[in-house]
Amino acid sequence: MTEFLTAAVGFILAMLALGLVSILRGPGDADRVMATQLIGTGGIAALLLLGTVAGVPAAVDVALTLALLATFASIAFVKKGLSRFEADGTASTENE
């Protein structure tokens, strides 16, 4: 079981590395945010697997924190960084 889960961690990390390639390719900022989101989700999966493989319960807490941080980072980036695209009023409805 341990071997299998370790292999799964390796595979998911390899997928994340490919995700980094897509950050480099871009081309837009939105694509980069998406790749960050991918790394957030994949990172959580890898950490949860590692926590079970290595018997480190703290890894689960790290995954939880990563989930929270990745979310807020992406939201902040989209709201701030991409706000120049939200010039007309339709975007304001999301606040209510």
Binding site: L64, T90, T93, E96
Partner: protein, 161 residues
């Protein structure tokens, strides 16, 4: 008077949910009591501030159906994207579809948009008046009918007032 009691019940039930979440995430230790009380209080206050208690009644059966529908859709959606991504011909017909919704703008419409962002091939991309714009991977799929079914299930489960 009755409304007053109902409001208290809803505050208590939200606090109870947040307490459960705390116990799951942080565990139950005596040393944590002050931190837990602060966190639960802050979470309850924040949730009441941003989402006022509603008037609708929860229907557990309809909610169960909604959860099942949601899980089923997540699986179909993931499989659909995987099939298109791995197909050498890359079968995509992307475009926007405007979906006329009966839900008022605000929390209800946002919940609906969030749920439907996991339907196969649709991502909500903003709304205007009584329409939500969806970006679709394949505009020839029966997107509008699927969205209408999802809206009906949601209204039955949560917004049946």
């Amino acid at each position: 008077m009755r409304a007053h009691v109902a409001a208290r019940v809803s505050v208590a039930s939200r606090a109870a949910w947040f307490l459960c979440l705390w116990l799951v995430l942080a565990g139950a230790t005596l040393d944590d009591v002050p931190a837990a009380a602060t966190a639960v209080g802050a979470a309850t206050w924040t949730s009441l501030r941003f989402l006022a208690p509603g008037s609708s009644r929860l229907s557990p059966r309809a909610l169960g159906r909604l959860v099942l529908l949601f899980l089923y859709h997540s699986i179909v959606a993931g499989a659909d994207v995987a099939r298109r991504a791995l197909d050498p011909r890359l079968p995509l017909r992307p475009g926007f579809v405007a979906y006329p919704t009966g839900l008022p703008p605000g929390p209800r419409r946002n919940v609906f948009a969030t749920l439907t962002s996991l339907l196969p091939g649709t991502v909500p991309a903003g709304d205007q008046n009584a329409q939500i714009f969806y970006h679709c991977l394949d505009v020839e799929r029966p997107v509008i009918a699927e969205l209408a079914a999802e809206e009906e299930a949601l209204v039955r489960a949560l917004y049946n007032d």
